[in-house]
Symmetry: C2
Subunit: 693 residues, 2 copies
């Protein structure tokens, strides 16, 4: 099927090719793109051909082996056309025609799927902008024909592809394949990612998606592709509607987009938010050698733009370090005295071919990458400067990104740079931004192993305990303990005497909380008592809590030892509609909402990934032992996060769970409070924190 | 002087005009720009003219009234040339020549200043790229000649101006004046801001600076200009070296760039970080009516780019709300059924002139601004769509930003949009980003009153107390109390008996801290005891603290009542090298460093501005009464911040001060700890917090 789609021997365009019609434009693109007219055929009732391509009244009459059909007939006819194409031997079809599920015509789209199932023909579209394979001179698309190269773009939206391909042509970015899959009635982003992962002509994959179906499958395929080649992703459409309404902190704070963000990173994909970033990264990946570090040097002929690039570089996590004294001395030996020898290195408007070449050659021995800026006034011939840059890039073998501007003045020099394989970026800022993402990519490697390993594996379930019958705090705590999650010792008590006995057993001071299925917000009704110091206080407290529950279903109290000197964190779980269980880590207690500093992962995670989550948050600094506190037990915390991340698979009825606070001690961790929401209903017990003092 | 500079009757170019020389390029620019050759003169030893402009051996020999001299002679000759020009009656000079302070030739620059002082001639430069006044056909610059309009650009860096002006020409942004002032030996950004504030031809000011001198003067001039017209500022150069090494939290966290950020906002200027943002904002200000709200609608002919624009709009604080049912019904009445009627409104690739016009006209009755997106495939004629957009924009009178792309395909349509006064942005994302900043500008008005009012006013000093003699905690606390800053009650004690008496007077429980000029980090040596409950514990505690101080200068202890139920915040002061005293507000205690969520203002501030600072931080949510806590006393807090912000003016030897924590109670505030660093030396007492429980 893939060869039929991307390297067809014979292509039939089915539809009208009257001048001005969509079919005419498509045929024109294919003919102008260099596909041999003899291997093209047009099919429409009148058998009308065009542009030197022969017309037939039906696909069957073409006679030869038609691999690919490009369909632009009215929506109502498409299923029958596909049927006919399949019977004539076509194994793939691109359906440009719109008017299906995107306008509510679900039946029409289902009819397409039915033909696919029955005949085996595979379909791109409907409602799409077509495909491209530059290496086969195949351009059945309405978008700009880009030059050949090694970037492949998969875009749900045809127009996004159109912009990208137009830029590719304008700025000389080489494209291998392009697919706009529109409604994705049959083939979707998953199929194309699978194909491009193996495609030898594709070195970099660019993916534009608005939503995915089969979230876990998508992640598996994406991770698999990203392990083989860079995948740059735009996930658009972070609408209100996409956000989940939920009671839990974790869920409400995360939002669907944050989950996408985490999931894409877990797969090793590079997420960007604008088409410009996507374009720049593709340019960088294809035109630059690997960026093996974060030390970048900026060589410029003008101060201001150099400073702007340096600012952006530091913002993006690159290091704009000063040259070493030895390097400075080398530069001083051959550069005029008016040059600025810090970083950026300013050759001034007097900068020459030789100046750029020698300077870049010298600095690239010390730095990991360079940006060569040239802000040209109209009287300056920039081609010699471009030659200097090209030579230095070639000699050093290190990444050199050019930013020659403004466009109209440097057009010839930029053309030369491009021919010679040095990418030119729109501004110095965009050049360093691309370098920063490339450095990040080459530094982290493709570490999507965690998700991939964990997903298919059977979970090592030790002491499986039945799911809790009640969502009351003591029952949840008991359940957590039974499944190996560390909770503090606790006692329940129905009477004041039992409470005193419990408190003595735990040791003073203790914390005491009311237990009632009818009290959700214990703190707010005075249902949590802290730092109770003796028997007398326990009795008084018991009476107070009983009074708090007066008129409600009072189930007694639960007592805990008071935990001191701990850092409070949150470990949570919720289900994302696309990706299923997600595990969260962040600051606990009142700071959960204040900081909104939560790391997410599609669950499950192993301990290593759990540690990475902790390190992502600012709370990591506190856990490391800020202000003279002892450091928290990171091993125990990672273990807890990993265990929690497996629970939704062992207990499929868990919808959401917050462990908040979790006390991180110098040795061990303890769950301070738990709230659980079941899938079937929204009945929940919201219990409140044991405060750490 | 300003008329001599910007509307000279006669201009003398002093320097060689041999072909290929800088003087030649400058003369060519002036002649090509349309300045009458008869009002130009060239001066050089040989009296050689060029390009139809007559040459003279000296300025004096020109005979007529020379207003402006443009100087490109070698650096060593510049002071004498200026002298000669001044004597010949020139009141202004633009010195293009480089080779002064930027390469260490400080004496040369001082010689220029000496001529200025003595003769009264005013100088732009040296080491600059010249000036432009499009409305006088005056182009003594090396940069691109832009079309005439109402944006004026002041740039320390000539090349930044070069890029901006080249874009202005490429995209049809009209420019009034341009000044590159290079080393700013005489005239600086302050002078130009003052001039442009009054210049009737300038509607928008764009300013690129790397550093300013006379920080407070600069702010005054900037605020004054920003009250009259929009000022878009790039402040570049946030280098390590620019950051202050300091012991205080506030200072170390802030960094010079954060102070610039606060100061620019206080002045009502719009700070941007890239040239593209600056360009887009200038385009928006000059070509769009005021954006009077945040409700934006996106009308598009393609899904993906519309979604990307919507995402960016929400990120930037705009509201991309759905159309009302009534509006939807109106649209449904005339749009084809396949159109998407949410927001973005998708006319699909079938979108027509009429579709754009009627849709935009209808939606603009409900929304504050619109973006008209057109992603054109090559076969589509976009000019009719541009007509539809232009008509709707004209009829509605509301802001309509176009984003027609990609460039090569829509060139003609974009030209039409421009002619008709509808600005076109490079992408939908950039269009909404500009709209968002415009909406922010028109919403806040020019509220720089606070800084302006406070600066010149004499401070209402009530009970002026002498500055503290010692930086020991009790002495600082006593001083704070004396000057009206609320501190908790406290007692000092030299003996255990005194400590018991003090604790009883305060009421149990108390907090007790060691006092010693030799103990800086009290907590870390066990020098702070919390929650002391009775006499016995006081005696035991006193012994412990005495032991802690053993072998050091033990000055006894200080006792405070234990403060409960308060929110801890930080109020700080430090001195910025550019702008002087800066006041800071943020989260207190250990969260100061964790959150790094600090609001800054150039001091002093009034209570209103102080409240705005609080609202800027995330800690505001906690102060509002999160999780059932009572809200904190905002009036008292604002009062504290305002009082603290005046202290550096009353006590000029305060270099830095941290009040951290400050306890914000339901009624009132109390300073929990104070650290003060004096200007003369770095001797300081670092005392540690009274923890709130």
């Amino acid at each position: 099927m893939w060869s039929a789609l991307f390297t067809p021997r014979m292509v039939a365009l089915v539809g009208s090719v009257g001048e001005g019609r969509l079919g005419y434009h498509l045929l024109r693109q294919m003919v102008d793109g260099g596909f041999p007219p003899a291997r093209l055929a047009v099919v429409n009732p009148k058998g009308q051909g065009a542009l030197g391509v022969r017309g037939y009244p039906s696909v069957a009459e073409i006679g030869g082996p038609v691999d690919l059909a490009v369909v632009v007939t009215p929506a109502a006819t498409v299923p029958a056309v596909l049927e006919e194409c399949a019977q004539a031997g076509a194994r793939a079809a691109v359906v440009i025609t719109a008017g299906f599920s995107e306008v509510g015509n679900v039946a029409g789209e289902e009819a397409i799927r039915e033909v696919v199932r029955r005949t085996g023909i595979r379909v791109v579209g409907p409602n799409c902008a077509g495909i491209v394979n530059t290496h086969h001179a195949l351009f059945p698309t309405l978008e700009t024909r880009p030059p050949a190269g090694s970037v492949s773009l998969v875009a749900q939206s045809g127009a996004v592809g159109g912009v990208f391909l137009a830029w590719a042509k304008e700025h000389g970015l080489g494209v291998a394949k392009f697919v706009s899959y529109g409604n994705g009635a049959d083939l979707t982003e998953r199929d194309f990612l699978e194909y491009l992962a193996e495609d030898p002509e594709t070195q970099v994959v660019a993916l534009y998606i608005e939503e995915v179906t089969e979230g876990r499958d998508f992640l598996r395929v994406l991770a698999d592709c990203a392990r083989r080649k860079p995948v740059v992703v735009i996930k658009a459409g972070r609408t209100e509607a996409g956000r989940r309404a939920t009671l839990s902190h974790t869920g409400s704070m995360a939002g669907a987009d944050a989950v996408y963000d985490a999931a894409l990173r877990q797969c090793g994909a590079l997420r960007v938010t604008t088409l410009e970033e996507m374009f720049d990264l593709c340019l960088g990946f294809t035109a630059l050698p690997p960026v093996r570090g974060r030390r970048v040097v900026i060589v410029t002929n003008s101060g201001g733009p150099g400073v702007l690039a340096a600012d952006r570089a530091e913002e993006m996590g690159l290091t704009v370090a000063e040259p070493s004294p030895a390097l400075r001395e080398r530069l001083f030996a051959f550069l005029p005295t008016y040059c600025g020898l810090s970083n950026p290195i300013d050759l001034t408007v007097e900068g020459t071919e030789e100046g750029y070449r020698r300077t870049l050659a010298a600095v690239l021995e010390e730095y990991d990458a360079a940006v060569a800026l040239n802000i040209a006034p109209a009287y300056l011939d920039s081609v010699p400067l471009a030659r200097g840059v090209v030579q230095a890039a070639r000699e050093s073998g290190k990444p050199v990104a050019a930013a020659f501007l403004p466009g109209p003045i440097v057009a010839e020099a930029v053309g030369y740079l491009r021919e010679q394989g040095v990418p030119n970026f729109a501004t110095g800022e965009r050049a360093v931004a691309a370098l920063a993402r490339l450095a990040e990519y080459y530094a982290t490697g493709r570490s999507s192993a965690s998700l991939l390993r964990a997903l298919p594996a059977p979970f090592a379930v030790g002491h499986e305990a039945p799911r809790p019958d009640s969502l009351l705090e003591p029952d949840l705590m008991a359940w957590l303990r039974a499944i190996g999650i560390p909770v503090p010792e606790f006692r329940t008590a129905r009477t004041a005497d039992e409470a005193v006995a419990g408190a003595r057993a735990l040791g003073y001071p203790v914390v005491m909380k009311v237990v009632s299925p009818q009290i959700l917000h214990k703190s707010e009704v005075g249902g949590v008592l802290l730092g109770i110091a003796d028997d007398e206080a326990v009795r008084a407290g018991f009476e107070r809590l009983a009074a708090v529950a007066a008129g409600r279903d009072f189930r007694g109290v639960v007592l805990y030892p008071l935990i001191r000197g701990a850092q409070e964190v949150l470990v949570g779980l919720f289900r994302d509609p696309q990706f299923g269980p997600v595990v969260a880590f962040g600051a606990g207690g009142i700071y959960t909402e204040l900081l909104r500093d939560v790391a997410l992962r599609v669950a499950p995670v192993d301990r290593e990934e759990a540690l990475a989550m902790v390190r992502e948050t600012r709370v990591a600094a506190l856990l490391a032992g800020a202000r003279g506190r002892p450091p928290g037990d990171m091993d125990a915390l990672a273990d807890l996060i990993a265990r929690v991340s497996e629970l939704p698979f062992r207990y499929p009825d868990i919808a959401e769970m917050d462990l908040n606070p979790v006390f991180v001690l110098p040795q061990g961790v303890r769950v301070g409070d738990v709230r659980l929401i079941r899938k079937e209903s929204d009945d929940s017990v919201l219990s409140h924190p044991v405060t750490s003092l």
